[in-house]
Symmetry: C2
Subunit: 619 residues, 2 copies
């Protein structure tokens, strides 16, 4: 298949796959010219996608057509209404359609995630796609501007959900006696009016897969299980190379306090620190100074936030008298110590990087916080040339714009930056006050101890758009590896097992329907041509296009007054071209048993998807 013949779906998938390729090349430190070449290819693909989504179907290019205005009835309006309406044939900005192949992959991914969640006693709930506006207000800090509001059409003011955590907290607050202690998972779409970057997997409508544990429990027991679940889920998805960055809000708060950050600047300094995964220390420091912090404090912070490690770093910091003089920091560090003990038992420790630069933007976290990054999305290990040595010197080589430069407004184009491979694959933390905010007994801004009506929670949110594009890339790779023998790597979106066809001029349409009805009743997936008198080549073409494994052939010689037999012919791979084999003759009353026997050992698309999850990303 040539690129020119690709439909918009396939182009989009090629784009994702190419973006993934560029990411791996960059991560593996491939030669510049090789990277450049692939980036050029990526940019070409982006242009093709962009032009397609502007023009819609070839014949119908029409940018923002006029629409009949229904209620008004001036002469001019009437004329407009009877003329054919022109449509901008596209999905809204930052959203996409999912074609059948993508859906197969998506549902397999969800199935894998759901299995892990259920293994841990998870039950699922669902909440409406929109909430009362006030439920979402004040939960997302600076990002609140990205919330989609519904138009005021009379009645309540509502907004599309921005995440699944706040609706969960609202649900728990409404049903405290039943769900004050629950392990719930929720796999659903959320909405953010962010600047989309679809090739990077940043959409305005996207899925989150959340697992949260509510309830008053002994410290760190639910937290450690959540981190175990996160690890297990990523492994089950075939993501092998990832690190979980871990920190604790109490340690951060204490750290800022001992470094002399005034109480009222803690949140803003914290959000500056959060940018260290994307910006060099020098830039972050500059931001701190601009925010009014004195240089001495900034330098002290710089020393701390450059530190990362494992339990030995916890021990080291517990010996740091300056830090442990702060009660909050001390408590956080002691919790980290207990946490590591549990993580050892649950075999999670090797994945953990205790990282003092991890801050997380959302307002509601109160305890441990974490973020899983894949190798592809993690910054390269060495600081770029010219960086201050000794500083918190992690620099992303593809100069991803800092969050600051993201715009909420609408621009016509996708984010055109060629940088790919940034962004965590999962994140979460403990939030002990969020449910209380709804149930009315929430702590005020200054108070932090949980009060009587509180329901403490801890959870994780896994973003699957990125997982999805990794899988699409693997699928492409698998197909490439197996070359012409595509049948073994075929992920079929259509599961049809039999195509019932007729030979001869009669068409035998009712006979074909009769056979289909017989197979359907036995749960066998079957189709036939919607032509009364279909031609043989057209029927074989349908079989080939959908990779249907068996043709059930009706011919006047074998199906007539005297007998009711059909011919079953295996159609996979080269089978369809073997003119010699005419298949096996099967009496109608044995057909169901025959097909069931034949299909029982066939490897299904599920098997192949499992195989895709097993392909290593080891280039």
């Amino acid at each position: 298949m040539t690129t020119a013949a690709l439909g918009p779906m396939e182009l989009q998938l090629q784009l994702e796959s190419q973006a993934e390729k560029v990411r791996s090349l960059k991560t593996s430190g491939a030669p510049k010219e090789q990277v450049d070449e692939q980036v050029a290819l990526l940019l070409d693909l982006k242009k093709s996608v962009a032009s397609l989504s502007l023009s819609g179907a070839p014949s119908t290019a029409a940018k923002s057509g006029s629409k009949p205005s229904g209620s008004s009835s001036s002469k001019k309006d009437k004329a407009a209404a009877s003329a054919p309406v022109k449509y901008t044939l596209k999905t809204p900005k930052g959203t996409r359609d999912w074609d059948p192949l993508s859906m197969s992959l998506r549902s397999h991914i969800f199935k894998v995630i759901e299995a892990v969640f259920k293994t841990h006693g998870g039950v699922t709930i669902d909440t409406p796609v929109f909430e009362l506006k006030e439920i979402l207000s004040g939960k997302y800090g600076e990002d609140s501007k990205l919330i989609y509001d519904l138009q005021d059409q009379g009645g309540e003011l509502c907004s599309l959900r921005y995440d699944l955590t706040v609706p969960f907290a609202r649900f728990v607050a409404m049903n405290p006696s039943e769900y004050g202690s629950i392990k719930r998972y929720h796999i659903a779409k959320v909405y953010r009016r962010d600047q989309p970057a679809m090739a990077k997997g940043r959409f305005r409508e996207f899925y989150q897969c959340d697992f949260d544990i509510s309830g008053v429990h002994d410290p760190l027991l639910p937290d450690s299980e959540i981190l175990h679940i996160l690890t297990k889920t990523l492994l089950a998805l075939g993501i092998r190379q990832f690190t979980i960055k871990l920190n604790h809000r109490a340690i951060l708060d204490g750290l800022f306090a001992v470094c002399g950050v005034p109480e009222d600047k803690i949140r803003t300094i914290s959000s500056a620190v959060d940018k260290l995964d994307k910006s060099p220390w020098a830039e972050v420091k500059k931001e701190m100074l601009e925010k009014g912090l004195d240089e001495g404090s900034a330098d002290q912070i710089g020393e701390y936030v450059g530190k990362k490690g494992s339990r030995e770093l916890v021990e080291e910091l517990l010996k740091d008298e300056k830090l442990t003089s702060n009660a909050s920091a001390k408590k956080g560090l002691e919790e980290m110590k207990v946490l590591f003990e549990y993580l050892d038992v649950l075999e999670v420790t090797p994945r953990i990087s205790f990282d003092l630069s991890l801050a997380r933007g959302l307002d509601y976290y109160t305890g441990i916080i974490y973020e899983a990054v894949t190798e592809g999305s993690a910054p390269p290990p060495k600081p770029a040339a010219g960086e201050e040595p000794g500083s918190a010197g992690e620099v992303a080589s593809d100069s991803k714009k800092s969050k600051k430069s993201k715009k909420a407004g609408d621009q016509d184009d996708d984010d055109a930056s060629a940088s790919v491979g940034v962004g965590s694959i999962a994140a979460g933390g403990r939030y002990d006050n969020l449910v209380g905010m709804f149930s009315g007994s929430g702590a005020t801004a200054s108070g932090k101890a949980p009060s009587a009506g509180q329901v403490p929670c801890v959870g994780v949110s896994i973003g699957v758009e990125r997982v999805f594009s990794i899988m699409m890339a693997r699928l492409a790779k698998l197909r490439e590896q197996e070359g012409a023998d595509a049948s073994s790597s075929e992920v079929r979106s259509k599961e049809t097992e039999c195509f019932i066809m007729s030979l001869g001029k009669e068409g035998m349409v009712k006979e074909r329907m009769h056979v289909a009805q017989l197979l359907w009743s036995a749960g066998i997936k079957a189709e036939y041509s919607y032509k009364v008198k279909p031609k043989a080549p057209a029927q074989f073409a349908s079989i080939a296009r959908d990779a249907v494994p068996y043709a059930v052939i009706l011919a006047p010689d074998e199906w007539n007054q005297e007998q009711r037999t059909v011919r079953v012919k295996e159609q996979r791979g080269k089978g369809s071209e073997e003119g010699d084999s005419k298949g096996e003759v099967v009496p109608l009353d044995q057909l169901v048993g025959y097909i069931k026997e034949k299909t029982k050992d066939r490897s299904s698309s599920e098997d192949i998807l499992r195989k895709v999850m097993g392909v290593a990303d080891d280039e």
Copy 2:
């Protein structure tokens, strides 16, 4: 369990179950006092639900609280921001949360539907929850006012999808070469700003399960398969008593023409006829006269639209020279004749009622149209006393308001009418011009022949909220029947197989984690208490609450330096109270095999759900 102790979820479910009970009583023609008694109970439940949803969690009743206004910073605002925020703790009007039990039932329903759809070669797609506003404009006739718009926050104007048909047509128009011929299904939420009546299953956010076939095919072949799929799906869901009302737009158009309805009144007269399932003929006739039709025409229409039957009615009408003098009616009738032949082969005919009063409101239908009604939702067979004999005299005994009286505006209360049991369970039809409207070659209002760029389609949409409430009622009934022995009818939302507990003062938390980790790795669903030193009764209580089948017990006697053994004790039903049985001692390295063996024959919630689908509604 007393009613007073019921949470909002359980109340809602009780409400649905009670509504179902009232429906059956009415349908079966039960004595008035018996019906009244159950209706009174229903109204009580409604009041309880209403008061709960107003007050939210008990301690936090607060109607429309003040929220901090972020950007502004007057002194007053600041004061407001530091005070605890009051929330209206509810979901938006007409929406609901789904608790874990409802989710189990919902996902089982979807699984059953999906299996039928796949048997017929269906593949699935997904589209964004919102579309460009202009995509939805002009597709829904009078109901367009029920569309939810997103607020204009800069950029494109968007609306939440109103159904899955228009987004499908948009998708096909965008990808004509790939999906111009597709069998696609889509199970997803749609949004309508209708007056909600939750006890009747009318929500503002609700699921539709759609199956559509696009493409240029021989007449009636896809149509007959769609009707077969509809029948099979309802049967698979355990709905046995239903009728599919069937009509053809071309017959209706012809009928109106020969009865003297002017061309420009056809749509409005058609929408009057559509109300015959809910209003008596006299009322519909009155509406026609008000709309300017002369009485002679109305009476002629009345004679036709009272007719219903099967293929013999097709034959009868084909002999009606007045009707067949109209080309459109003749074509429609000839198509019906072919359709019935196919429906015979596919064993659908016994379900069909060819019903000339079925008109369907939506603008886009062009060929056959249909609507499945369950016995509970169908009107009673005999006309009510006092009706004109000989007229299209079907009268709904519970005087459901006609569509006309529905309001789009927001009122504080649920539709308080005690009438239940109205509304079709599925509906659909052929729409040959919708894709063309998007691809620019659409027929204008007057032209009806498909032109070159058209993609003809036919499909059905199944509404599952109603199926869901039937299932919930059956589940309640099953539980009632089986009485104390609840374990066999237990639909568990939590699938946990083992609860790992400790006896003794030590708590053995790390040991419990270690055992859990072992079981999890083998795919066994396991949990343990989040207490470091949990008490035995509390652990047994968790096991009982979640109906966990096996306790894996760690005790210092059996798990120590010398040995690593656990005790496995079956916990279902009375097992948990049999103090005598201490369970079996199992060495740790045999635990996984032991549990797998034990659990392999257990009937799962899936089995029980299947049983629920099999319960007959034959009261």
